[in-house]
């Protein structure tokens, strides 16, 4: 049986990859994909801790997070499509009109 530490370390690596991708990608959709990757790394850590404590609460929390991610994707992609209709690009360097 694999110890919990290895799962947490893997979650840390996946989260860092997602964070690097979020900072380096310039397409809004690919940044979104990286956010999903980070969410999944957090889910993996939660499930691993759930097994370490023998408690199902963390697994229920992961279920709630999954639902939240679905709502987030629906809204986020809706916003991207709405912006794309006004300015046909998803490059976040171009879409900087909210920049202070």
């Amino acid at each position: 049986m694999v110890e919990t530490q290895y799962y947490i370390a893997l979650a840390a690596i996946l989260f860092s990859i997602g964070a690097v991708g979020f900072l380096t990608r310039r397409s809004a959709i690919q940044m979104f994909l990286c956010v999903e990757l980070m969410l999944n790394a957090a889910n993996l850590a939660l499930v691993a801790f759930s097994r370490a404590w023998g408690d199902l609460i963390a697994q229920s929390a992961v279920f709630i997070i999954l639902t939240l991610a679905a709502a987030e994707v629906a809204i986020g992609l809706g916003i991207i499509v709405a912006i794309f209709k006004k300015r046909p690009t998803t490059n976040v360097d171009v879409l900087s009109s909210l920049k202070g």
Partner: protein
């Protein structure tokens, strides 16, 4: 341990593919690979219900939505110089430091219980036991999430709702289309009248 290493390598490879592919579709498909690998990992962690939900909701519904939007927008590849060229090396260095720090912290974790007894308490993470937790301890978050989903659906519809009066491009193209159709009708009906 062998299974874990194989799954971990696949997950990291998928994650790296997600952030390195230029094309949005390849990125999304790499992420699908990572998500499916994580679903298999949930099975090894005795979370069977979450594994099936991960495949259905994440790898299925959410990623289909992503691919649908990527293909709908059909954007060209990012071109032009990066306005902030120093971001990439700094981000990669920062990411490596963060991964190392988090992994180091992870190995400080002391297992609170014997892993065998803790795993037995999960009862495999089947839908029955998860549902029992969801509808007792998690009843309020569960109901809150249902309202959140309703708001998300209404919000998504109102965001992409098309207002015909303001969409000039659509109006002009549709007018042209009707004009052409009218012209065709006239030109095709004229010879008929002459013959008659």
């Amino acid at each position: 341990m062998v299974v874990f290493v194989i799954l971990a390598v696949l997950a990291i490879a998928g994650a790296l593919g997600t952030i390195t592919f230029k094309s949005g579709i390849y990125s999304a498909l790499s992420l699908v690979g990572t998500l499916l690998t994580l679903a298999m990992m949930y099975v090894t962690l005795h979370a069977q219900f979450l594994a099936s939900v991960q495949v259905m909701v994440y790898a299925g519904a959410i990623m289909v939505l992503f691919l649908f939007v990527i293909m709908l927008l059909n954007e060209s590849q990012m071109s032009g110089a990066d306005p902030l060229p120093w971001v990439q090396p700094v981000a990669i260095a920062g990411g490596i430091v963060m991964a190392a720090a988090l992994a180091f912290t992870a190995f400080q974790f002391k297992a609170p219980k014997n892993l065998e007894t803790a795993t037995a308490a999960l009862q495999g993470g089947t839908p029955g036991v998860i549902g029992e937790t969801l509808f007792t301890k998690f009843l309020l978050p569960f109901e809150a999430v249902s309202i959140l989903l309703l708001i998300a659906v209404v919000g998504a519809v109102s965001l992409v709702h098309r207002q015909p009066a303001h969409n000039e491009a659509l109006e002009t193209t549709s007018e042209h289309a009707t004009d052409d159709a009218y012209a065709d009708e006239v030109s095709s009906s004229n010879p008929a009248k002459v013959v008659a």
